[in-house]
Symmetry: C2
Subunit: 200 residues, 2 copies
């Protein structure tokens, strides 16, 4: 499986967590990293042929970004609005992403407990990421469970270091595809009549 | 009440619905319109002092944009990430938007029935707009019910024309603040014991 990581950070050089992730991913097997801020330049302009060819050459598409105002930095959206074009990602003949996988890799400044009803960010990450989930759904991609690192505004070097192997393990988890996990659980159930009886 | 309309459209001149709204708003009383694409230029760069002074001079802030990939065009996010700064919109002393009102004015290509569970866009506009709702909540603004025009990909000139007075009526509706509407309903209830009994 080949993974394409599209990184949208306005200042990747100065970033702590996203830089650490980017560097680790750049060294990982079967992973292509792409710094969209560098590629797009000041005008955030992308070459459609290049970007679309890259998508076609990979099975799992990862959007990596810091969570600013509950979404991605503008360069991610510039890339989406330009590259996910009519006839490629949607509309007649626009099935080129169908069957691929899509995953959000995101860092937040605020702590995990703030992303809940009753927390100061009110909504869960699943709720706030729905625009990305629906982008995957409309283009026929399988939406995989995101990897989220919370509390990065006050994270220690140790916490950032620890997030790297966790992130890599998540991105290569064979059960990220919900159908794969469900199939294993159903198979286990079928093989053990005691358990099957317990849920019937 | 003074209203500031921040318009984020990559090509306002060629737009049908957003141009019609923008032109009507530009002529409305107590409304300031601002074409963010023109102001930000190719680099989408905003002058903080100018933008923040404009916010402070208005009571109701409107984000106007076409719904691309379930969010706003990149220039809207560029404006947010630059202008809603630490110490102004959040953080210590960052209470400058507190008490103001916030409203999303948005057009979608797809029809209304697609923005439902079971529709091809799966989620409701309220769900997909949560990143904007939470931006309003964190900055202490009252989130007002959005104005959404669906089906604009196939809208007739008549439908576009008809949306203009509807949009203007929505933006000046005195009961857009949910507390105002609730207070009126509770007052009506208190004045009519029959109705009060019916809900008790």
């Amino acid at each position: 499986m080949k993974t394409l990581v599209l990184t949208a950070h306005p200042n990747l050089e100065k970033s702590r967590i996203n830089r650490a992730w980017f560097d680790a991913l750049a060294e990982a097997d079967s992973v292509t990293t792409r710094d969209l801020t560098a590629v797009g330049g000041a005008g955030m302009a992308f070459d459609l042929e290049t970007e679309q060819a890259l998508l076609l050459a990979h099975d799992r598409i990862v959007f990596q970004f810091p969570f600013y105002w509950y979404s991605a930095p503008p360069v991610m959206k510039a890339w989406m609005d330009q590259v996910l074009s009519y006839g490629f990602a949607y509309g007649p003949g626009g099935d080129k992403l169908k069957g691929r996988e899509f995953l959000v890799l995101v860092s937040t400044g605020g702590p995990a407990d703030s992303y809940h009803a009753g927390g100061y960010n009110n909504f869960s990450m699943d709720e706030l990421l729905k625009p990305f989930q629906q982008t995957a759904l409309l283009t026929g991609m399988t939406y995989l469970r995101p990897f989220v690192a919370h509390g990065m505004a006050v994270a220690t070097v140790e916490q950032i270091d620890a997030s790297v192997p966790e992130m890599l393990a998540h991105l290569t988890d064979p059960e990220l595809d919900p159908k794969v996990k469900q199939a294993r659980l159903l198979k286990a159930l079928a093989e053990d009549p005691t358990k099957a009886a317990a849920v019937s």
